[in-house]
């Protein structure tokens, strides 16, 4: 299975329901003539175990799309299904439960809680769990996760004492606490130097390989994109290229390339979708 761009009309295979099934997602800001289209009719599917990189220049709508895929933004047009459930039909509490239980987030700016130590940062998702959890067990799990991301024995340190790479590793540990099925990463290496970014990229690769974690990472770093199994390239809010790097299945219609995608983004994206849908058994 791999992440693919699809046409909005492509049917979903009942036998292999994707974790993410987005159809014709459009996001507009403002009204009337001042309307700005941040995401323009994007359709894509992400299957379990995929590592999808969404790449594109700054301002192309990558982070906006990720926010929509993570249920952080519900004011969009189109259809979005996560884990088989229609997001727009879900109540706020159900969406919150979905975010807390099945999705982990990693952000470019880390977004750590500066007033608590590293361990409590990892444990932060427990605050919003509806069910009570075993405090001792979760504390041990937090320490294990810190060790797994290379921060073993540093649970009592405050985030301000950690380096940029360590902070991002801490954010990854937090995202993994509740064993999410999907990890959404927004420019996770954007604030890191090359070497640190590489180590974080390796961490994501390891999590994907060893845990079978499904990842969707928004990035403009080639290094991270190369670690992904699939790439969707956005330009001006549209999918201009979908590329499965590992399986080397490139599905770009009409001979368009990522380089000339800017010119005919709409038709290219649609064609990519049609090709991918056909190829995936849609």
């Amino acid at each position: 299975m791999q992440a693919t761009a699809v046409t909005p009309e492509a049917p979903i295979s009942a036998a292999s329901t994707p974790i993410i099934d987005a159809r014709d997602i459009t996001k507009r800001y403002g009204d009337g003539k001042a309307t700005k289209v941040a995401v323009d009719g994007v359709s894509l599917q992400v299957a379990r175990g995929d590592f999808l990189a969404i790449v594109g220049p700054s301002g192309c709508g990558k982070s906006t799309l990720l926010g929509i895929l993570g249920c952080l933004d519900r004011s969009f047009e189109g259809r979005l299904s996560l884990f088989g459930a229609d997001v727009r039909a879900m109540r706020d509490a159900d969406l919150a439960g979905l975010r807390g239980g099945k999705i982990g987030f990693v952000f470019q700016a880390f977004h750590l809680l500066g007033h608590v130590n590293a361990r409590d940062n990892v444990l932060a998702p427990l605050l919003f769990l509806r069910e009570a959890s075993d405090a001792a067990r979760m504390r041990k799990r937090a320490d294990d996760l810190l060790a797994e991301v290379g921060l073993g024995g540093r649970g009592d340190e405050m985030p301000s004492t950690l380096s940029g790479g360590e902070r991002q590793r801490l954010a990854v540990a937090r995202a993994l606490l509740l064993e999410p099925e999907l990890l959404l990463c927004d420019e996770p290496t954007g604030n890191l130097d090359l070497a640190t970014g590489r180590s974080v990229t390796e961490l994501f690769g390891r999590l994907h390989r060893e845990r079978g974690l499904t990842l969707v990472a928004v990035t403009h770093e080639e290094q991270l994109a190369e670690a992904a199994t699939s790439i969707v390239r956005l330009s001006a809010g549209r999918v201009v290229e979908a590329n499965t790097t590992v399986e080397a299945e490139v599905a770009v219609g009409d001979g368009a390339t990522a380089a000339d995608g800017e010119a005919g983004a709409g038709s290219v994206a649609d064609d990519v979708g049609a090709a991918a849908a056909g190829g995936e058994g849609g």
Partner: protein
């Protein structure tokens, strides 16, 4: 969000933003302190005024004063018009009302009397040329001191005499302190002195006016308590102003058994059966049930109006409307002071609103992160409101404490700096439980009101925008 998690978030915030929260809580504390202080003062003063000076749970009803031309002419020209009185049927009608808890008729002396005594207390005997006295139901007085408040002759006569009494014709035949309760030239029984209760007001009047003018020592309540049991003699049937129509004047003995709120302001208050006997002796049979007034104990303070309306139907009027007037005045003053405190609380609520709005603005990213981690809009609102509630309860509790400490200081000042005056209380304040709980509820309510807008704002934070804008 579970309560434990909410508690953890609030406790963390109390540490993180303690400066801003203390500032907000200070406003709540000041408002609550002012509210509690003023209301406690009002309640305390009200307790004294309406509990001791003008009791509001009781209404004394009396017939209209004789003021019509017919009555005046009748008295002036020797007519036989009787003084206004309350009939037993009126008493029965009052007793039947559901708004009435109890009815206690009063009998005034219908004959002249004077008194002499007080040497034990004052150093020399005090003479009163005219003695005013009322007889009231012993039940109204209850237990005062160790000596029962009842007609002393009742132990010798009646259906169930308690003990055999020594027959006598003169007091010389009795053992002190008993005296011979017998009509002139008739035989009676040796009985204990008639118990009498007096009011605080009469003591205040004596100490402030009579004692300085005549060189008597001030007695005060405490001294009087030590002198309880003081026996004096009353000359009944005659005074400096004249003599009773029937009967022969004679000496009787009375004993002050204590101070009672039920006692008439000026004069003695005796058991009604004693007064009834003496009224019959000196004014004839009809004087035995010619009630001068009736004390009505209302079923509840807010039923006074209904009782007064019923009395109006019976042709009776409240003897004294001061309680009602004082009550209205006090309620007005308390409402005004509470309004001032309320304004302080509103200002503190707006301060909380500002503080929390800043807090929400500063924490858009944190709120967005919590949403990403699984928090609902309601969780974020609950977080802010719980924080505000904590500030409100803590500020309110501190306010109650400050008000209580201030009341202690004010009482101390009153004790040391204010001159003595009638009914000067030990404390000018009352802190009933409902006031404390109500103040905490008010403080919490204003804190929650202040935080409601910011909390809703927190619930509406767009997590995607907040997280992306700071990426």
């Amino acid at each position: 969000m579970r309560l434990g998690a909410l508690h953890k978030l609030v406790v963390r915030d109390l540490v993180r933003v303690r400066g801003a929260l203390v500032t907000s809580g200070f406003g709540i504390m000041a408002g609550t302190a002012a509210l509690v202080f003023f209301l406690a003062l009002g309640l305390g003063v009200r307790d004294v005024l309406l509990g001791e000076v003008f009791p509001i749970d009781q209404v004394e009803l009396e017939p209209p004063k004789g003021s019509s031309f017919g009555q005046i002419a009748s008295f002036a020209f020797g007519g036989k018009a009787k003084a206004p009185r309350i009939e037993p049927a009126d008493i029965a009608a009052l007793e039947a009302s559901p708004d009435v808890a109890a009815v206690y008729p009063k009998l005034q002396f219908s004959f002249p009397a004077s008194a002499r005594g007080g040497k034990e207390l004052l150093g020399r005997d005090l003479n009163t040329g005219e003695m005013i006295a009322d007889g009231i139901d012993p039940e109204l007085v209850g237990d005062v001191g160790d000596i029962p408040f009842r007609d002393p002759l009742s132990v010798c006569t009646g259906d169930d005499p308690k003990r055999p009494c020594t027959p006598c014709a003169t007091t010389k035949e009795c053992t002190a302190p008993q005296y011979c309760e017998a009509k002139q030239d008739e035989r009676g029984f040796c009985v204990d002195p008639v118990p009498a209760v007096i009011s605080r007001y009469i003591i205040e009047l004596f100490d402030k006016s009579v004692a300085p003018a005549h060189g008597y020592p001030q007695i005060g309540e405490k001294l009087l308590e030590r002198a309880e049991g003081m026996i004096f003699r009353m000359w009944i049937g005659e005074s400096y102003l004249g003599q009773a129509k029937t009967g022969t004047p004679r000496w009787v003995h009375a004993r002050v058994v204590g101070i009672s709120d039920r006692a008439i302001d000026l004069g003695l208050t005796l058991p009604i059966d004693t007064v009834r006997r003496w009224n019959v002796e000196f004014s004839g049979e009809g004087a035995g049930d010619a009630y001068s007034s009736v004390m009505v104990k209302v079923a509840a303070n807010d039923r006074v109006g209904q009782v007064v309306a019923l009395a109006d139907e019976l042709g009776l009027k409240p003897r004294d409307t001061r309680a009602r007037d004082v009550s209205v005045l006090l309620s007005g003053v308390m409402a005004l002071l509470a309004l001032v405190a309320g304004i302080i609380l509103v200002v503190s609520a707006s301060n909380i609103a500002y503080t929390f709005r800043v807090l929400v603005n500063d924490r858009r990213r944190e709120i967005a992160l919590y949403r990403a981690l699984g928090a609902t809009r309601g969780d974020m609102m609950a977080w802010l409101l719980a924080l505000a509630l904590t500030v409100g309860v803590a500020g309110g509790a501190a306010g109650v404490l400050v008000a209580w400490l201030a009341s202690l200081g004010a009482d101390r000042l009153g004790e040391t700096r204010l001159p003595d005056f009638p009914f000067k209380p030990d404390t000018f304040f009352a802190f009933p439980l409902w006031l404390v709980l109500g103040a905490l509820a008010f403080a919490s309510m204003f804190a929650l009101l202040g935080a409601l807008g910011p909390a809703r704002r927190a619930g509406r934070v767009d997590p995607a925008a907040a997280l992306a804008s700071l990426s």
